[in-house]
């Protein structure tokens, strides 16, 4: 079968020819007359292949236990006749003929050819677009590097790809490049907001500090008052008031 993939390969990549047949087997083909029709030759080949297989099998089975050569030969002969009849019926049904029909007709699969052509077109288009993106990336990388290093840079290989404007405009880069927002302006606008926020946060920080100071002072004051009150009210504390309470009748 024709493979369009194999057809597009270069000579060196093409598959090597198949390994040679065994000599015995090639004789089988040669023994069949070329004057016969193709289907008949195939039938003859099938039959002679079977007979050849039987011939090859016999020496292996000879040494086996309970092997009867006569019985084996009788069976082989019977099977050979059966196969001959079967091949005859295949020939009558035209099945053998069908095996040769495909090689005669050309594989004019128009749909397949059209898809193949379309695929080739897409591949070309995508490779081209990929090259353009790579170019753009390299350009931005070069921009990102400081001037001195970019000039002496060995790594950046800017491959110039001359593209036709029509194909360039149709690419996906177009949409991205023309809708890019002005980041600088956005940042500048945010600066005012940041300044306000800074003021607010400074105020908050000041208020928090004041609150903390007030909290500390209040706590200290409360502690002082608590100690004073304690001294006044609980001057003579009994040892173990629980026991005294339990013992009180």
């Amino acid at each position: 079968r024709q493979s369009w993939r194999r057809a597009s390969m270069k000579e060196i990549n093409r598959r090597r020819s198949l390994p040679p047949f065994h000599q015995g087997m090639t004789e089988l083909s040669r023994s069949i007359s070329v004057d016969l029709a193709e289907s008949k030759r195939l039938g003859a080949l099938l039959l002679s292949s079977f007979q050849f297989s039987v011939q090859k099998l016999e020496p292996f089975l000879k040494d086996a236990q309970d092997f009867s050569l006569e019985s084996f030969k009788a069976k082989a002969s019977f099977l050979s006749q059966e196969l001959e009849h079967f091949i005859g019926s295949l020939e009558k049904d035209g099945i053998l003929q069908k095996c040769f029909e495909d090689s005669k007709e050309k594989a004019l699969d128009l749909n397949l050819e059209a898809s193949v052509a379309e695929m080739k077109e897409y591949i070309t288009k995508f490779s081209l677009e990929r090259q353009t993106w790579d170019q753009l990336l390299l350009w931005y990388q070069k921009e990102a590097l400081p001037e001195e290093t970019s000039r002496g840079s060995v790594e950046t290989k800017i491959t110039e790809v001359k593209m036709e404007p029509t194909s360039y405009l149709r690419s996906s880069q177009n949409e991205v490049l023309y809708t890019k927002p002005d980041y600088q302006k956005i940042l500048q606008n945010q600066n005012k907001v940041f300044d306000c926020m800074e003021l607010v946060i400074d105020e908050l920080q000041g208020s928090m500090k004041q609150l903390h100071t007030f909290m500390d002072e209040s706590t200290q004051c409360l502690q002082k008052v608590s100690v004073q009150l304690e001294k006044r009210s609980m001057q003579q504390l009994d040892t173990s008031p629980a026991r005294k309470l339990l013992r009180l009748h």
Partner: protein, 145 residues
Amino acid sequence: DNLLKLIAEVKDKKQELEVLTANIQDLKEEYSRKKETISTANKANEERLKRLQKSADLYKDRLGLEIRKIYGDKLQFIFTNIDPKHPENPFMFSLHLNEAGDYEVSDSAPHLECLAEFQENVRKTNNFSAFLANVRKAFTAMVYN
């Protein structure tokens, strides 16, 4: 003679009357003084008890702990604010002094396994506040489990 006797008797009676009147007066005065003393003492006691009750209420409220003296010379400790879902639910136990004069716990509701251990600790250390704090912690842990 009879007249003279009668006059003498009347004189005696008059004297007796004076004495009795004086006695009555003294008794009245004493009664009055006593009444005032008792009244003052009573008022003072009332005031003191009022203040003591106020402080007890404050402690009870702030500590979530009520201390009651109950029959059988026992002290009952009632904890509240243990269960956050039902803060008014009471958790209690009783304490008394046994014959040896040691603290002995009893009647805990709900039952606390570790109460016996706390009892031993307080007997050794006499740290009553730590003892009560541990009991509260144990009740709280029980609720959360």
